[in-house]
């Protein structure tokens, strides 16, 4: 099958992702308004690297992360007709990713009561020199698992508080309270 031509991209100044927020919103709107292979291909290229990163940060091997990222995008393709509000897209996408990750853990461990996110050792060196990501490693090691997930969604994935609340199915006040608690704990890491 022929793959639709690649859309022009540019580097986002705040997240480093290869598109601006406006382009991202436009791509999502195009896909939701007219789901097709062409519009799907654009959002696939946009989100799959982020989804792979999402799963790698939660302890998945590269192969598993790729497989789960693909599953998320197939779910997005299937369920697109049910989502009409494009401003909820990112929260919806990460909610699907979260569900798929939990299903995957469930298959592997047969336990769902306690969700313990793994902090894979190889992630620690992704930034190039280990010192570059030292603060990230120290931060992750200094907080509780539920706080770690908020930290990742907020500062790695760049989600807003209301989006995190939707992904984790928590009240927004709880997310904000936990975010403040994270900041209080981690400010101590800075000397």
């Amino acid at each position: 099958m022929a793959v639709p031509a690649q859309a022009p991209t540019r580097i986002c100044a705040t997240t480093g992702d290869t598109t601006s927020l406006t382009n991202e919103e436009q791509a999502v709107a195009s896909f939701l308004n007219e789901p097709s292979n062409a519009t799907f291909a654009v959002i696939f290229r946009l989100y799959v690297p982020r989804l792979i990163r999402y799963f790698r940060f939660r302890g998945c091997s590269p192969a598993v992360a790729e497989e789960l990222a693909q599953d998320v995008m197939l779910a997005v393709h299937r369920q697109a007709p049910t989502l009409r509000e494009r401003q909820r897209f990112r929260a919806w996408l990460y909610r699907i990713a979260c569900n798929i990750l939990l299903q995957s853990w469930r298959k592997r461990s047969r336990e769902i009561e306690t969700v313990e996110f793994d902090w894979a050792a190889d992630i620690a060196h992704l930034g190039g020199h280990p010192l570059d990501t030292l603060i990230l490693r120290e931060s992750m090691d200094s907080i509780e698992p539920d706080e770690r997930e908020i930290l990742l969604l907020r500062w790695v994935e760049g989600l807003e508080h209301h989006e995190i609340a939707e992904v984790l199915k928590l009240p927004m006040g709880t997310v904000q309270w936990k975010t403040f608690r994270i900041r209080k704990k981690l400010a101590r890491l800075v000397r």
Partner: protein, 168 residues
């Protein structure tokens, strides 16, 4: 460390979302409070460092452009092959209800399903999430076995497992 301000005000202040007047009030407090000044400075410095670290992580090639194209081709093939008919927990519950009703009666089947849903729903939500489906089936199997015997339990377990494989 709150010093008369709420946590939500502090968070909004640090994130630059606080209204001008309220922000100026915290500014004045911070100017005269060494403890809060240290917290604000450290928190902002921590955020600067964490954003720098995550920017470097974002630059890491988690998937090369070529690999993403390969994955896209595979995904489009899967779509073309019709991997679209997946099931939601609400639909799957209806299937199990139809299996149980002839054996246990309408009211008992409904009661068992409600009980299993309550036990499986970690957040107490009325809707099941796909990841809680296996726990729901497990609970329903226990209930089904108590009244319908081992054969009923096996039937529910098999049907539940089949639907779990198709569930998103």
């Amino acid at each position: 460390m709150q010093h008369g301000f709420s946590e939500s005000d502090w968070l909004a202040y640090l994130e630059g979302r606080l209204a001008e007047g309220a922000a100026a009030e915290i500014d004045r407090h911070v100017a005269g409070c060494a403890e809060c000044a240290q917290f604000v400075n450290r928190s902002r410095e921590w955020e600067r460092q964490i954003l720098e670290a995550t920017r470097k992580v974002a630059e890491y090639p988690f998937a090369t452009r070529e690999r993403v194209e390969e994955l896209l081709l595979a995904a489009l093939d899967r779509i073309d092959m019709g991997e679209t008919a997946r099931i939601r927990p609400s639909g799957a519950i209806l299937v199990l209800r139809r299996l149980l009703e002839p054996l246990l009666g309408h009211k008992v089947a409904e009661g068992f399903i409600d009980l299993a849903m309550r036990r499986a729903s970690l957040s107490g939500a009325a809707e099941l999430e796909p990841h809680t489906w296996p726990l729901f089936v497990e609970q329903l199997c226990l209930a089904a076995e108590s009244l319908g015997g081992a054969n009923t339990e096996r039937m529910i377990a098999r049907a539940g497992a089949r639907m779990a494989a198709e569930m998103i």
